[in-house]
Symmetry: C2
Subunit: 293 residues, 2 copies
Amino acid sequence: MSRKKSGDLVRLGLIQMRVGADPRRNLAKAVERIRQGARKGAQIVCLQELFVSRYFPQSEDPKFFRLAEPIPGPTTDSLCRLARAEKIVLVASVFERRSPGIYHNTAVVIDADGSILGRYRKMHVPDDPCYYEKFYFTPGDLGFPTFKTRYGKIGVLVCWDQWFPEAARLISLSGAQIIFYPTAIGWLSGEPRGAARAQRCAWELIQRGHAVANGVYVAAANRVGREGKLNFWGSSFVVDPFGAIVAHANEDQEEILLARCDFKKIDETRQNWPFLRDRRIDAYGALTERFLD
Amino acid sequence: MSRKKSGDLVRLGLIQMRVGADPRRNLAKAVERIRQGARKGAQIVCLQELFVSRYFPQSEDPKFFRLAEPIPGPTTDSLCRLARAEKIVLVASVFERRSPGIYHNTAVVIDADGSILGRYRKMHVPDDPCYYEKFYFTPGDLGFPTFKTRYGKIGVLVCWDQWFPEAARLISLSGAQIIFYPTAIGWLSGEPRGAARAQRCAWELIQRGHAVANGVYVAAANRVGREGKLNFWGSSFVVDPFGAIVAHANEDQEEILLARCDFKKIDETRQNWPFLRDRRIDAYGALTERFLD
């Protein structure tokens, strides 16, 4: 399968997987899935949030800090070798140890030559029942960067960032053609089915809305399977710059979701729906306020 | 039917209508529909964009400026009397003559005592084939206000504003419980059916996304019927603070869409999904830039 850039087309692979107790086995599984995706033609492959371990923020326990690693570190070393061998771009979510007392929920972008292009540190950090991330992760301090990869200019936002239109806007204004969302979201056990469906529906809605507002591709890779009290809902997806679903994974099985993006669609969409032309940048200053009432 | 405020519940009415050539008859029809809505219990009634006339921005012709009127003016005088008589809040879209050479696409909020609470002047003004609004409407200069009505605190945004998450966010930060969108959007004749459906889908998606992002009710009142080259797609709707559809009108008939909002749901939703808590207001400054690439 050729990895060459073919004009404005790029093939994505999203790895939706279950995660077990052993980080080494999880990494090995991810590597194998990435290889499979590459064999099927994927040029940019995105892993789910914190794919190397179970979703430890279900509880607050300092012992989990030992799961963190530096960047570069063992996980990114493996992935850089893989990216170079397969000539693919990788988006990988890593529990980053930056210094004693400073840890981040970080996404690393690795280019198709195996080099680390840069990192994004999760800016919006949740704290909800079974998502006690504020205990572990220092809020990101790198803003909303984009990365010029061999196969396109991309941005990465992580899970809870999904709910913030500001983040998707800023990434888009920086020229991203695709926004990736490595994700770990699921239902709490015992939630009524109606409420559960409403959650997944809102999660999908708002991300499709980001695609529409900004005229960009959006690709969300979510984990799947039961871990402790959480039942991760999978449903990884890719949508085009007008919010239409290009590819959608199932909700309870592992899957390598493949999708083709055509960057010409970005320009076409924005010519027909020129929202970026009409933003009232003279009137948005108060967006940096907490509340205005 | 009692018009009394009953705790946190408020009943909405959206008037989705066809519009003819005679402004006086259109106004009379709107008045009659509002009365019907009030009889059915509506406490806040929203009219579609520029309901008094056909959608004249399909072409650029100075003769249409004579459709404009001051605020207060004949249309708002009629509606103020009606609001007082029926004890309802009205949201009405008016082609505002402000001074020679300055005209606005304005929404007026009339309280249940018949007084004008204030106005919103459309901030994002489109210019697309058959939507030549930049010729007629000076961009709004009143920012994104909210209005404390007898039945709740509301914001109004108009049509093209729908596509801008910044507008919905700013209105929400100012404490709106409901965002109303008086609208005039439709298909161009001859558009392929697939593209047409994709447009209405994106239009609905992004507004439901605003509800989710902000934890507010969103209510869109759209016109219906064929006018010149445009086939307005109706489909007025109300969604709750998590984006779920409360009420939805048909796409080709006139309708008075009734819906009940429970403001307790706003607090409940935001307690479970505390996005406003986690906004990175330290990192949003660049939202006032045109582009960052």
